[in-house]
Symmetry: none
């Protein structure tokens, strides 16, 4: 039988990006924000004015990574250091795997339906902004119920 999966819509991606931008403005640091769907494919990206030029690629790939392994990139980072079990995983998937904080899987009913990736600041800043996006997504799910 064919599988039925749920995956994030463009509207939801925009809700997430909006919340991330709001948080980025609060902490006064412009960011790149990206959202991928259940297939790890890009749904939306936004570069806030004056964010670093090199972070588009990273934000997109943090989201890609979080969905690819259903894990936050901060957690993956721990396992991917030298001498740990996934050291070298950054080399897989044509170099698209990001092993530092800022990528979060997005869950609905316990299943990963997409992911958000944030880049443009320190790991702490990126994480805060990504968390705001994730929280907005979870809130939007609760409203629908």
């Amino acid at each position: 039988m064919t599988l039925t999966i749920e995956t994030i819509s463009l509207q939801e991606a925009r809700t997430i990006i909006e919340a991330c931008e709001k948080k980025a403005n609060e902490i006064k640091h412009p960011m790149h924000i990206a959202v991928v769907d259940a297939g790890a494919n890009l749904v939306a990206h936004a570069r806030m004015d004056n964010a670093w030029t090199g972070s588009a690629n990273i934000a997109i790939n943090k989201a890609f990574t979080a969905k690819s392994f259903d894990i936050s990139t901060a957690d993956l980072a721990k396992e991917s250091q030298p001498n740990n079990q996934f050291f070298g995983i950054h080399n897989s998937n044509d170099g698209r795997i990001m092993i530092f904080a800022g990528g979060l899987p997005l869950l609905k009913d316990g299943k990963v339906v997409g992911a958000v990736g944030v880049s443009g600041g320190t790991g702490e800043q990126d994480s805060k902004v990504a968390e705001a996006g994730k929280a907005a997504f979870e809130k939007s799910l609760a409203l629908v119920k």
Copy 2:
């Protein structure tokens, strides 16, 4: 002396994407839309629900191409066919050059300040949607004056 250039903002990119989506809805075909800045760096991307999974890369790279050579990808396509002057250019820039319709440079006061790339349909569909985005950008410039 340092050069002063103008480059597209996130707000403008969103105006463009919004107009593209409207046109895509009119022709009933979901699209990927991407906008790059004057440095050919990604500003924003949106995948309309149910658009082809392979077209995110193409939309982004059509915009990249249109800015990289200040030309529409449809015009570049003509010059890039076998036996024409730019045949082989698709191979440059690490394979990011797209030589089919859907990428348009965006001008302000005669200078290219960014580009829009659309992918997800036929060349004709992509072009129509990209043109709508370009028109919206030009209209927004006129309003500011």
Copy 3:
């Protein structure tokens, strides 16, 4: 509204390269020197006679990196070691990120308008030569005022 940014000119890039060459001659070590603009795109490169053949790529990518994240590659290096917050960032941007000394952002009025990258010697040598280029750029800005 369109953003206005400033970006380095070819003339400025040459002033920087000239100063770097002078310093490289002082320390008797031939170098590759590269300058990128505000969009992280290459403006100029020079390989001093007998400099290592493998360092063109590195000098260009050090400049690319310094502009991509508005940071010196020596500072980025610290954050990109195992167990630090950006470990793995060298893997992003299609492998173009260089995480060792020799790349410096170039600022005008507090904004990054380009970057210089130097490669061909030890980290200490590369840094000295890059600093000479940066100092020459800052001096040229002061003269214009």
Copy 4:
């Protein structure tokens, strides 16, 4: 016995680039100019102000190609069209082979000692500018004799 080869110096590369810039200014079209040595390694690159952002890669790779096969890229183009003997060669060397006009080998005493690559205009414009660089190199050789 070890081979002795002659290869272009940075000073010669600059003579070539200067002549190319002069010609580009004459035809009023800004260009990217690159010179590689006898090992096909980059010696120098310059992007004239306002030249296309996508042409740095192409100019460097046209020079790389002209040296790689001791042939002008315009001549290589003829052999690289569909149904001709080298069709597909653009795919070799990690995609660095450019098969359209603008790259010229530079000879001394009948041997290729480097190459110049020009990009930023039509094939005709690129060729004219590259020819000016080659002529300047040949003139400089004659002066030394």
